[in-house]
């Protein structure tokens, strides 16, 4: 027993070294911009860079709109599939898993071929079109996470009774979805949303190939042209990923407490 515990500790310590060293290395490197010792110079330079502010702000806005679009598409679908079309379930599940199977670079390649300037729907030709296209692309990437978390959330509530109760009080579909269903699966929606945020904020391939000035291409550009700033950016990106995952844990724990109380 003690021998097994010894081996376990060894595995965890070696694993810990492998996983912590890059984080330490990235943090250490990000502090070395000043010649006279450690300091937060790289962060100051990055945060003051107008390009950073612009691309980061753009990516945050894009992530938020993606989340809203994802909710608008996924929540009604998951709800109606559960309530009215159980037979559609395998098809919908298959479709929502496809973005994990088809590499994103292939999906965006398809977009460029279908929606280019010489097509029926020339989205890549205009500023609005390109933004719409990348928004739809990110919503597609978020489908697996959004659908699974919303569907899990719906499983824990009695959709049929809630719907009948709301209908008997005179609520229409839009009202049922917004006032009854959404608040009940809100915690699940939030986990899907945070995951989506973490994915969209630093996404590179879609943005680079659609020529969108978001945070991902900005990071790559910095990586090719600067020494210390990329590490500062990596620390920022890592902090965002941490925050998103931490928030998911937090809301899930919160929801567990609330269901116990009920």
């Amino acid at each position: 027993m003690t021998e097994r515990r010894l081996w376990s500790w060894l595995a965890v310590v070696l694993g810990g070294l492998y996983f912590l060293l890059p984080l330490v290395g990235m943090f250490d490197f990000s502090l070395r911009m000043q010649r006279d010792g450690y300091g937060f110079e790289a962060y100051r330079v990055v945060l003051a860079d107008p390009q950073f502010q612009q691309t980061f702000g753009y990516s945050v806005a894009l992530a938020l709109v993606t989340i809203v679009l994802g909710i608008l598409i996924v929540v009604p679908t998951a709800y109606f599939v559960r309530l009215r079309f159980p037979s559609l379930r395998p098809i919908v599940e298959f479709l929502t898993l496809l973005p994990l199977v088809i590499p994103p670079i292939v999906i965006v390649f398809g977009y460029i071929r279908i929606y280019n300037t010489s097509s029926v729907l020339p989205l890549t030709g205009s500023w609005w079109g390109t933004n719409l296209l990348i928004l739809f692309g990110y919503a597609t990437l978020s489908l697996p996470y959004m659908y699974r978390s919303v569907d899990t959330g719906l499983r824990t509530i009695d959709v049929g009774s809630l719907t009948e109760a709301a209908q008997s009080l005179g609520a229409g579909w839009a009202r049922i979805l917004a006032v009854v269903v959404l608040p009940n699966v809100f915690v699940s929606v939030l986990s899907g949303a945070f995951l989506t945020f973490a994915i969209v904020i630093g996404e590179y391939v879609f943005a680079a190939l659609l020529n969108v000035g978001s945070f991902g291409p900005y990071m790559v550009w910095m990586g090719g042209n600067r020494a210390y700033e990329p590490s500062a950016l990596a620390v920022v990106a890592f902090a965002i990923t941490w925050a998103c995952m931490g928030l998911i844990q937090l809301v899930t724990r919160f929801s567990k407490f609330s269901t116990v109380r009920r």
Binding site: W7, F109, G202, Y204, G216, V220, S231, A234, Q249
Partner: protein
């Protein structure tokens, strides 16, 4: 009026029609931004510039440069999948069966959730800052132990460097997927094996591994697909100096694709084929594995 409504097929009743309106946006969206783009690529792979059916494009995949790019990609994905499975299993076994304190187990699972999502550009930066020419570990090894990594031929911008970097998201993914499977190993099975006189190795060889192997192989397939589709990490780490399949496709789309879009189609089609096979293997084996975890 009511009799007419009642005699209509179920799908056409007003309520049902309204429900269809509820799911229609999803199907429209999936068709426009998932199915059609993918179909366009797949069909394009089998057509020439005049729109006739052909296998010529797929034949171009056999050109030495493309073939070697796919080969490096497959090697890289396979290597990181196998190593990711191995080390992931070790860590998962340590935190589930190794008698470590419970908070440590939870901390490692949370960290795995973060690390498996910490892919892409920032991950590449972290590894450059650590194992690059002036990286933290490179300098540490030189100053404290007199080991010159780069003198010994190591370079972060290489197959090995890329593999080391990929493992940073491969191992945690394995930990996340295999931990529930390990927790599904019942204590009674071990006790039963021990009461029949089995030692630890025999228990693993004859009981635990036969139960676990569908999960292990399935996750191996998933990790393979996971590494195969990763583009951003590779581009941020190597620029385009290491030509793996997704980077070749990236370059094709960016520049050369106007010269020969059908070669791009063929590369993309081959990528879909490989990741689809890997995912199908994962799903099939997962269904097999779930027979035991109930």
């Amino acid at each position: 009026m009511t009799t007419i409504v009642a005699s209509l097929p179920a799908a056409l009743r007003p309520r049902q029609v309204l429900s269809w309106v509820g799911v229609a946006p999803f199907f429209l969206f999936a068709t426009l931004f998932l199915i059609l783009p993918t179909l366009n690529i797949v069909l394009g792979a089998f057509r020439n510039a005049e729109g006739q059916l052909t296998l010529e494009n797929l034949g171009k995949l056999l050109a030495p440069s493309i073939r070697s790019a796919f080969w490096i990609s497959i090697e890289l994905s396979l290597l990181t999948a196998v190593l990711g499975c191995f080390f992931g299993l070790l860590i998962a076994a340590a935190i589930t069966l190794g008698g470590l304190p419970r908070p440590l187990r939870n901390a490692i699972l949370t960290f795995s959730g973060v690390a498996s999502n910490f892919a892409g550009v920032p991950l590449a930066f972290a590894f450059i800052a650590t194992l690059g020419r002036l990286g933290f570990v490179t300098m540490l090894l030189r100053q404290w132990f007199g080991i010159n990594l780069y003198g010994a031929g190591f370079n972060i911008v290489s197959f090995l460097g890329l593999a080391l970097t990929y493992l940073y998201f491969q191992i945690p993914l394995m930990v996340l997927i295999i931990t529930p499977a390990l927790e599904g190993l019942r204590r009674e099975w071990r006790e039963a094996a021990e009461s029949l006189g089995a030692n630890g190795i025999q228990y693993w060889r004859l009981v635990a591994l036969p139960v676990l192997w569908p999960s292990l192989l399935g996750t191996l397939a998933l990790l393979f697909a996971n590494a195969f589709g990763a583009v951003a990490t590779a581009i941020a780490l190597t620029g385009s100096s290491l030509s793996i399949a997704p980077i070749v496709l990236f370059a094709q789309i960016r520049g050369d694709v106007l010269n020969d879009p059908h070669l791009g189609y063929a590369i993309a089609f081959a990528m879909i084929l490989l990741t689809a096979i890997a995912n199908a293997v994962y799903i099939l084996l997962r269904m097999r594995a779930e027979r035991w975890v109930k």
